[in-house]
Amino acid sequence: MPQLEFLIKCGVYGLMGLGIIAAVGAVLLPNLFHAGLALAFVLVTIAGIFMSVGAEFLGMVQILLYVGGVMTLIIYTIMLTGRLGAKDVRAQNRQGIFAAIAAGFFVCWIGPLILKTGAWPQRESDSAPPLLSVEDLGMSLMTEYVFPFEVLGVLLFAVLIGAIVIARQDRPS
């Protein structure tokens, strides 16, 4: 099914293009709320890419956790801190040009480097089934990666408490 493959290819490239456009938006949009939405879009496109490379579970996690969790957090925060739509507030600081040069240089240097490197490992047969099942992931998470997982758990717990402590309104003294 070369057409389908082609279509999928087109879809993936399209996702990439959209993702990049959205990313630009997320970075440049003066309205934070819009930027947040753009980010959400980027995350979704990336989730799509994940799925396209056979990491469906991760793609789902991406959508659930990021778009559902983190984005919500961000949007709430944006709303909490207010002054969002103030037009007079510049979104960018003055070092944009330098940042752009640096980033541009980075891209212009690494990009050709990537392209020139011809020997990227290739995994044939695009039709090959996903390498990893959710079960596999779960198993290795509970066996091989249980230590980082537990640490992460502790970390998250600490973050939870820490975030509450930091964000909590000071008691009127």
Binding site: V27, I46, A55, L58, V70, V89, N93
Partner: protein
């Protein structure tokens, strides 16, 4: 792989660059956080793609998985800090809270 690895890498590179620009230029702290999420995702894309072609596909995915979790944690703490700063200084513009100067 449906598309060549280098294309995905290029994508993540560009994404990373954009995110970087965002981190470097955004005045609003939340904006910076947003840009950081971009960076993290760019990395994630790489991780996942490499896992796809590596001998041990589990490692890459696990890394991505942990990165996502860490990103969530970072976002949570970062946003909490933003809220706290906003409360005390009534702004979240980074160039207005140059506490590190001198």
């Amino acid at each position: 792989m449906i598309i060549p690895l280098e294309h995905v890498l290029l994508f993540s590179l560009i994404l990373f660059a954009i995110g970087m620009v965002g981190v470097l230029t955004r005045r609003n702290a939340i904006g910076i956080l947003i840009s950081i999420e971009l960076l993290l995702n760019a990395v994630n894309v790489n991780l996942v793609c490499f896992s796809r072609v590596s001998e041990d596909p589990m490692a890459g995915q696990m890394f991505a998985f942990f990165v996502i979790a860490l990103a969530a944690a970072a976002a949570a703490v970062g946003l909490a800090i933003v809220v706290a700063i906003y409360r005390t200084r009534n702004t979240v513009q980074t160039d207005e809270i140059q506490l590190l100067k001198w």
